[in-house]
Amino acid sequence: MKIITAVKRVVDYNVSVRVKSDQSGVDIANVKMSMNPFDEIAVEEATRLREKGQATEVIAVSCGVLQSQETLRTAMAIGADRAILVQTDAELQPLAVAKLLKAVVDKEQPQLVILGKQAIDDDANQTGQMLAALLDWPQATFASKVEIADGVAVVTREVDGGAETVRLTLPAIVTTDLRLNEPRYVTLPNIMKAKKKPLEILTPEALDVDPAPRLQTVRVVEPAARKAGVKVADVAALVDKLKNEAKVI
């Protein structure tokens, strides 16, 4: 069974982003970029499935700028066997990414596509679900456990107030939640090996997909500033504030 795992190059989660003063967006020039943390979990899960003998090949796919090659190299250092970059400098929104991924899926014919549940830049939480819709495949989002056997995926998902388990016939889409696994640290030897693994570059044109964004960004602003805090004299006063003023307990 082939597994495709989709990864996105995003602003590193440690970076405090600055909103541009002209309100046109967030300033990400020269800012540290990394693999979306939920996607690391996806690559880790795919790699574990291959290590367990349940998959024959893991292909990491990314859509975006040329520097995404570095992100794909990280995916291969975690364990992906090869990588595909759909290269474009255009602004990509989830619907376009889902269409690009569908084109790759149609070519590669995997039985499972694992994606991170959301990217920490746009926080959209849509791509996996959209891909599932375009392919007419079943989906299991926010997965905290994945078991594959006999053409079926049994997935436990995080839902409000607990978890539920669903059974999907393959091929299927899974999106990862934090509890699914703890990604391994990339090792120094694997960083070197990843350099030699195949990385194919495609374009949206070659895949016959129009990547143009649908939503227009009107403005981007900073959120309202935190209000100043108050001192509380003792624990009783604190509990009172938390219960009756902040209403968080």
């Binding site: 970076v15 020269n30 800012v31 120094l188």
Partner: protein, 395 residues
């Protein structure tokens, strides 16, 4: 209060130390300013290494006195709850045959002559201290027991707290627009919180010193250089708190490493980093190729780390001067302006004494260590404080 005797610009670990010592030495009216919060600039990125090993003897003097402060921190700042986060694990430095051997021997000999507690170790002895490391090619191994690492941010905030208790006014989130000068004399500063008058300004602005240079129209050579730090995890060979800080002069990158969290290894190259175009303390990209390159150097010295995993990584910025040593003292042509910048990646370990001598200078007192070698005029006169190791933070 709008009028002060001394205004300190920049509340990193050096500026906080200056403010603390001004109060300690009796200054009554001091203002400490920062455009952010205390220690929010490059201080918080420091790896915190403490050692007195330097090839420049004046640096040894600054470092040894500073070590005494770190080693007795709570009582020095007069606060039982203060902590420098000190891990006193010692500092080990080794070189194989090669171009670093003579500078190492010379520096160690000089340290001995200056009375620094120092041992020359055999490979066997070094292995007892740092069993995960190989020393088979070491020609000389020096070991300072009175060394280790600490937390620069905690030290900065402790100094700031002590400064406040000593009567210093601390204003965070205040931008300084310029230093006000009349007839070649400092008369105050203009800030986003209004103007303040004073006749002495001490600038500890690190990579933001070029702003000062522009305000007072005096060249102040300094270049921001970004360095990457890696945290590596190797279950087979944890780097514990008992193991000393290690400086590997045999590695191309002149690596230094220490324990991180009591099990992982924090490692960074000591040599030239990535020059930035402007002062910028934000996190930078660390390419995988770079990780592999440093990893290879680590594995060469720590064999088990050939299989180590990259647990985390971050970058820190140095304010680098032409000779990798700080500029300390008065600025000629601008009466009342004193600077302390250009620590080039080794400022934290000197911060207690630097703070004291700059405070002494400002108050017209004799300085514990002479500032003359660190004068800003040395760049023009050619009397650079270039260390025997060439470029790099072990100067």
């Amino acid at each position: 209060m709008k009028s002060f005797d001394v205004i300190v610009i920049g509340a990193g670990v050096v500026g906080s130390s200056v403010a603390f010592h001004l109060a300690r030495l009796g200054a009554k009216s001091v203002l400490l300013l920062d455009r952010g919060t205390i220690g929010a600039g490059t201080t918080s990125q420091s790896s915190g290494i403490l050692r007195t090993h330097y090839s420049v003897r004046e640096n040894v003097e600054l470092a040894r006195r500073s070590w005494d402060v770190f080693n007795n921190f709570a009582s020095y700042v007069g606060d039982d709850d203060a902590s420098a986060g000190l891990v006193k694990c010692g500092y080990l430095i080794a070189s194989p045959e090669g171009d670093k051997l003579d500078p190492l021997r010379a520096s160690l000999a000089q340290q001995v002559e200056q009375g620094i507690p120092l041992e020359f170790l055999s490979a066997q002895q070094a292995t007892e201290l740092l069993p995960i490391c190989r020393f088979d090619d070491a020609a000389v191994i020096g070991y300072e027991p009175e060394a280790g690492f600490a937390d620069a941010y905690m030290v900065a905030t402790s100094f700031a707290r002590g400064a406040r208790r000593g009567g210093v006014t601390v204003k965070e989130n205040v931008n300084v627009n310029r230093v006000l000068i009349e007839n070649g004399k400092v008369v105050g500063v203009s800030t986003s919180a209004g103007d303040f008058t004073c006749d002495t300004v001490i600038s500890t602005q690190n990579i933001w010193t070029p702003e000062l240079a522009a305000w007072v129209n005096v060249p102040m050579p300094v270049v921001p250089e970004r360095h990457a730090v890696l945290a590596l995890e190797c279950e087979a060979a944890p780097y514990t708190f008992k193991m000393p800080v290690y400086k590997d002069l045999g590695s191309p990158g002149m690596l230094y490493c220490r324990s991180y969290g009591g099990n992982q290894m924090l490692v960074s190259e000591g040599i030239v980093g990535e020059k930035l175009f402007g002062p910028e303390a934000e996190q930078g990209d660390i390419p995988l190729d770079y990780v592999a390159e440093v990893g290879e150097q680590v594995a060469d010295r720590f064999p088990a780390y050939a299989e180590a995993g990259l647990a985390s990584s971050w970058t820190g910025v140095y304010d680098v001067t032409p000779d990798w040593n700080p500029v300390l003292g008065r600025v000629p042509g601008v009466q009342g302006l004193i600077v302390g910048y250009g620590f080039s990646g080794h400022g934290f370990k000197l911060s207690p004494t630097v703070g004291k001598v700059l405070a002494q200078e400002a108050l017209g007192l004799a300085t514990d260590v002479s500032l003359a070698p660190y004068a800003i005029t040395r760049f023009a006169s050619g009397n650079l404080l270039t260390g025997k190791y060439g470029l790099g933070a072990v100067s």
